[in-house]
């Protein structure tokens, strides 16, 4: 029996899956497209809802997975299956013979420039959640001088015009988290959140929302921002409807943060083709028994984990990664 496993993707899902497999006694190869492991987690500063440090969290994931064999800046070129063994050819021409494959290729952040009306890349004051997170991480001070700040929820989510009908699940609480953090750095700032629905489903999220209102005085306005213009002073003039009072509304801001949602990984189609599995209408990979099993595909020995199958929070991703490891173990012990 082949006790070697290939994990495609070295983000939190791939790392945690490797951890579990290693402790079950398997040999793990991780193929990672970029130069470092950690995926989006590496770019983040603090995690919702309790404000844990992202780098410390990643550090813990890496500590345990160092027994895996990493291939950085490498992609999988082709996969063949013969006699229950997968033969994967990597971009550096390495050939791996493995008993099972776990796909953990994650998501990509919605490119905010596609929402032309918000002027990302055109107006200086318009940034994304990732830009703000980077500023938190690197201590880039210029953003925090802004005294009037807006957060636009659902940028690239719940929007068929950009082919994302789905809810990205994590942006609501991320916006609330970032708004609070912004107020910590600039207590004088007026902060507005423009939302369609506030989906505070997770443990501790509602508390964070209450704190944002009560302690930080963040104003939540129910209504989708329609357009952003720049006035003569270079400030942003934003239009929306306050749907709760049914009034059109206008506000001038210094900084606008777009909550880019979770989109499919653009490589998904290629991976699906290579492995012989399906994709959903929105491009995320399909599970064959979505209610019963979070990891199972129609190809035996190929498992999915993390946000490659749809938007997920970090704890959900890690749970799925551990479940995937067990699924692999069950498959190989049959």
């Amino acid at each position: 029996m082949n006790r070697e496993i290939l994990i495609i993707g070295g983000g939190p899902a791939g790392l945690e899956c490797a951890n579990s497999l290693i402790s079950l006694g398997y040999k793990v190869f991780i193929v990672e497209k970029s130069a470092e492991p950690g995926g989006h987690l590496r770019k983040w500063d603090r995690l919702f809802p309790y404000g844990a440090s992202a780098s410390e969290t990643l550090e813990k994931l890496l500590q345990q997975s160092n027994k895996a064999l990493f291939f950085y800046e490498t992609e999988v070129k082709s996969i063949k299956k013969s006699d229950g063994v997968f033969i994967a050819t990597l971009s550096d021409e390495t050939q791996l013979h493995v008993g099972s494959i776990v796909v953990a290729t994650g998501f990509s952040l919605f490119p905010a420039a596609k929402k032309e009306e918000y002027g990302y890349g055109i107006y200086n004051g318009v940034i994304t959640n990732a830009d703000l997170e980077d500023a938190f991480k690197t201590g880039k001070k210029e953003f925090f001088k802004a005294n009037r700040v807006g957060f636009v929820h659902c940028v690239g989510s719940r929007d068929e015009k950009v082919c994302n009908r789905h809810c990205s699940k994590v942006c609501c609480v991320t916006a609330v988290k970032q708004a609070c953090e912004f107020k910590d750095l600039n207590p004088e700032a007026e902060v507005y959140c423009f939302y369609m629905d506030l989906r505070m489903f997770g443990r501790g999220y509602e508390d964070l929302y209450l704190k944002a209102q009560n302690k930080y005085g963040i104003r939540f306005i129910r209504g989708r921002v329609s357009e952003v213009a720049e006035d003569v002073d270079g400030c942003l003039v934003l239009k929306a409807e306050d749907t709760l009072t049914s009034r059109p509304l206008k506000v001038t801001l210094d900084l606008l943060v777009l909550m880019s949602g979770i989109s499919k990984n653009p490589d998904n189609d290629e991976i699906a083709l290579m492995l012989g599995i399906d994709t959903d209408e929105d491009g995320f990979l399909s599970l064959c028994e979505p209610n019963l099993n979070n990891n199972k595909t129609q190809v035996e020995g190929v498992f999915l984990t993390g946000s490659v199958t749809g938007p997920k929070t970090l704890p959900e991703t890690l749970n799925e990664a551990r479940a995937a490891a067990l699924a692999v173990h069950k498959y190989l012990s049959r």
Binding site: E190, F220, D242, L249, K250
Partner: protein, 111 residues
């Protein structure tokens, strides 16, 4: 800058740039629950006076936040202070005190 070209009729448009924040802060000091509203609408739904006339604390809070004080005051003057909204509010806002203080801070007497 001079307004030029087409514009919304000024009465219906909310301009958050022109909201008097000092009064809002006073209101907040008098009733800290003011900021906790999540616009669920329970207060308006249960309102005794709401059976007969237009009262909605939920909307009044938004009006105040949007700087449309008089809309809020005119509506809340209909309130009988019966306390049903106090009992029903899922966020535990002291609604009666909020209503009283909106009338005090923004009303004619402006205590």
């Amino acid at each position: 800058m001079k307004e030029f070209g087409y514009s919304l009729s000024p009465s219906s448009r909310v301009d958050l740039d022109k909201v008097d924040k000092s009064k809002q802060n006073r209101l907040f000091a008098l009733e800290p629950g003011f900021k906790k509203c999540m616009s669920c609408g329970s207060c308006s739904a249960t309102c005794s006076a709401g059976n007969y006339t237009d009262v909605s604390l939920r909307r009044a809070i938004s009006y105040i936040q949007n700087g449309q004080d008089q809309l809020a005051v005119n509506m809340l003057r209909n309130c009988m202070l019966c306390g049903k909204c106090l009992i029903i509010c899922p966020r535990g806002i002291n609604t009666r005190n909020l209503i009283r203080n909106i009338l005090n801070v923004y009303g004619e007497k402006q205590i």
